[in-house]
């Protein structure tokens, strides 16, 4: 039996509740949460979908570290497992946090290829070499789970801060050889809520379940943004 201590919130008050779960080898925290929901308390709320670390729905704080519940095995965690919602997000109910703002920030950086020759009637194949793919490949692996955002010290105190995931997405497209939208994105990234709010605490890279290295992406984006603005200043 493993003891689950869960941080619950019902819209008004926040409290801890404990459950005993018979843990099997290979059982994930997500399975344990389903076990609790089915056998003890059907009102327990959490978010999950794919159960295989690909949708990014189930990030939560497990024994103080943000992780994917579906990719964390119970028996690696000891006899007590503490489960809490992510930091830096508003809690809606129990383990479910408000992600609207997070996704808005993601949309704000225009996370899609921008081309001058967009023509949907006559689509054209865009070629890319493996070297060009490698420039940004690791940054495409982000599943928007919010783990990085939950440990970012700038996001902790500034609601409008873009945060690591959105800036990583911005860099991912800027570094894509097929993209022609760098200028637009540098402008968005260079707003006061953007790259300048990063102080390279680098905790985001520590917690990312996909090893995306968001801190590296933000640093690269900031350098490119800074030099592109300085260059345009000097010419003008």
């Amino acid at each position: 039996m493993v003891r689950f201590k869960i941080r619950r919130y019902d819209g008004k008050k926040s409290y801890w509740q404990s459950f005993e779960v018979p843990a099997r080898r290979g059982m994930t925290v997500l399975e344990a949460l389903y076990y609790i929901k089915e056998n003890y308390d059907s009102s327990l709320a959490f978010r999950a979908s794919c159960r295989m670390g690909i949708c990014g729905s189930c990030a939560m704080k497990i024994n103080d570290k943000p992780r994917l519940a579906c990719e964390t095995q119970v028996l690696t965690l000891g006899n007590t497992v503490k489960v809490e919602p992510l930091d830096n997000f508003k809690v809606i109910k129990d383990l479910i946090t408000e992600f609207d703002g997070f996704f808005e920030k993601h949309k704000a950086v225009k996370p899609y290829l921008i081309r001058k020759d967009d023509n949907y009637a006559e689509p054209k194949e865009l070629l890319q070499s493996p070297e060009e793919l490698n420039e940004y490949y690791v940054f495409t692996l982000c599943i928007k789970c919010g783990a990085c955002y939950s440990v970012c010290p700038a996001a902790a105190t500034l609601d409008e801060c873009l945060g690591p995931a959105a800036m990583t997405a911005a860099y991912r497209f800027c570094a894509d050889s097929r993209d022609e939208g760098q200028k637009e994105r540098y402008e968005i990234a260079s707003s006061s809520n953007g790259v300048w709010r990063c102080h390279l605490a680098m905790e985001c890279s520590e917690v990312c379940p996909k090893n995306v290295e968001p801190a590296k992406a933000v640093q690269l984006l900031r350098r490119k943004t800074a030099f592109s603005i300085l260059k345009s200043l000097l010419r003008w």
């Binding site: 500034l158 409008e160 402008e187 260079s190 006061s192 300048w196 603005i229």
Partner: protein, 114 residues
């Protein structure tokens, strides 16, 4: 407003880094001069004779410029990291840069009247 914002931030960022690099040298030198050259280095006569030399004057003026900018721009970055500070972004930038100038000018005044 849009354009002043996007010019201020990258310039401030790059100067924060460059002043940091310069200070590694200057602060080490300052500490060396005041603590390791002789036991008398902090006596009034010694200080006065050092500051009278143009080389030292220039050195201190540089240190003063670099450190005041770095410190108050650092404070600006800290304040802008908060929702409250960001709401008054313009005032935060203006006041911290004003404080930087005041510290620099007062230090220069000291440097040239000792």
């Amino acid at each position: 407003m849009e354009s002043t914002k996007s010019v201020m931030e990258p310039v401030a960022w790059i100067f924060q880094m460059l002043t940091g690099l310069v200070m590694i040298l200057l602060v080490t030198l300052h500490f060396y001069v005041t603590h390791m050259t002789s036991h008398e280095a902090l006596k009034y006569a010694e200080v006065a004779s050092r500051v009278a030399q143009p080389e030292f004057k220039a050195l201190y003026a540089a240190l003063l410029l670099v450190v005041s900018f770095h410190a108050f721009n650092g404070l600006r970055a800290i304040l802008l990291d908060t929702t409250a500070g960001m709401r008054k972004k313009g005032a935060v930038s203006a006041l911290t840069m004003l404080a930087f100038l005041l510290a620099f000018i007062y230090g220069l005044y000291l440097l040239f009247s000792i």
